[in-house]
Amino acid sequence: MKPDVDQILGLSAQQLMTQIAPQLPAGYSQSTAGLLGIMLGFCAQEFDRAAEIRVAENRDLRELFSELAPLISDAPLKAKLKAAALSADPSLKISDLNTANCDLRRLLIALQSCVEDIAGDAARAAERRIWGILLASAERRLLKLPGT
């Protein structure tokens, strides 16, 4: 059985950082090689989780739009939210998920900005709901440094 991609990346990162970089002259070359090792380590982390992060975030955003659309009085924005809530990811390719994610995040900015201008408890609760989605997104996308 061939090695898994994240294992290839992780081991390459380790070899670059611990075996190759120390052999290079101190200075730019050495620090650059070390940083490239860290990048490979990030790629190893991302390989396994990339699709899950995007699928989960896109699902969360569609649910949010469905939930908050009734609060919005701006007709064009309300229509966009309803349409987006019914949309689906075209495939599990990262590029397709990213394209859908960008469209949804663009709409999220418009929604959050609109909600901030609405008075009342329902709008404040909606704001908190949005921040909850953003927090989950930010946490999912954090990266671990080597050794942490």
Binding site: T32, I38, C102, Q112
Partner: protein, 341 residues
Amino acid sequence: MSDDISARLAAYLAPKLGAASVEVSDLARIAGGASRETYRFRARYTQDGNILDRALILRRDPVASLIDTDRTTEFRAYQAFHKLGLPVPEPIALELGTGALDRPFFIMEEIEHCSVASILTPDPYGAHREKIGRQFFTTLGQIAKADPDSIGLSNFDGAREASWLHEVQRWEREIDEDEREPQPIARAAIRWLKRNPPPRAQKLSVVHGDYRTGNFLYDADGTIRAILDWEMAHLGDPLEDLGWALDPLWSHGDPSHPAGLVSRERAIAIWEQASGLKADPKALHWWEIFASLKGAAIWISAAREYSDMRNADPVNCFSGWFCLAFHNKVLVEKLSVEAAP
């Protein structure tokens, strides 16, 4: 290539150093951020009958820069604060033309036998934490205390009134120009910053613009020998630098000890004593949120530079990926508290 630069550097430096000829040796590129290419070298020459052998630093513009910074600003800041007696390398020459080394550059002395901390190192300062922390926040206070007019920097970029808005708008423009994908967290932060202006600045100061761990050199005795990277220096609210220095990205994993040095409370107290200013908690809170937004803007620009292959230095990739994810989390944590009932 390095032989070519050495020969051209030697030819350039001779008249600048008042020498008949200069011998340049040991030219080597070192890590020094993505906004300038940084090289160390030695210059040997005769002056007034004495043979001098100096360690110098060349900071040359890259083909593309992480952020559009002005090397004249950086050079003038080095001049002003070196003259003021702060730990700053002596600037030697500034060249804005492209004839000498193809791109603009400047040269300054190298502070030798020192260390610079990587933000990836958990505890770079060890037993010298307290000593370095005291100097770090004292020097920042001294920068805040300096009068821009009397040190010749009164025409630096920045706004004399409402500098907060000038700065928010500056970094908003960076995001507008460089974002590759929508940034809901950064956009929410910009709206919050504009809706909740900070109290009026106590004074107009020179703001270093990137005062943090990793941008100073310290020796084996735990003495700070050089504050570096003044390329984002400008005029503004002195709390801007304090907010940036306190940012958790620079805390080496322990946000209760900003910059991986002294406790937050002690850091602020040292700064207040050295600057003669007050770090009003409400104002500082605003500037700390601003700091994380500014960080996000810089990392968004870094990601753009890398993705467009204008500057493939991996530090841009690291910044645009790890640092942006980090600051997005920090901003959400701070701003979601603001939205709490």
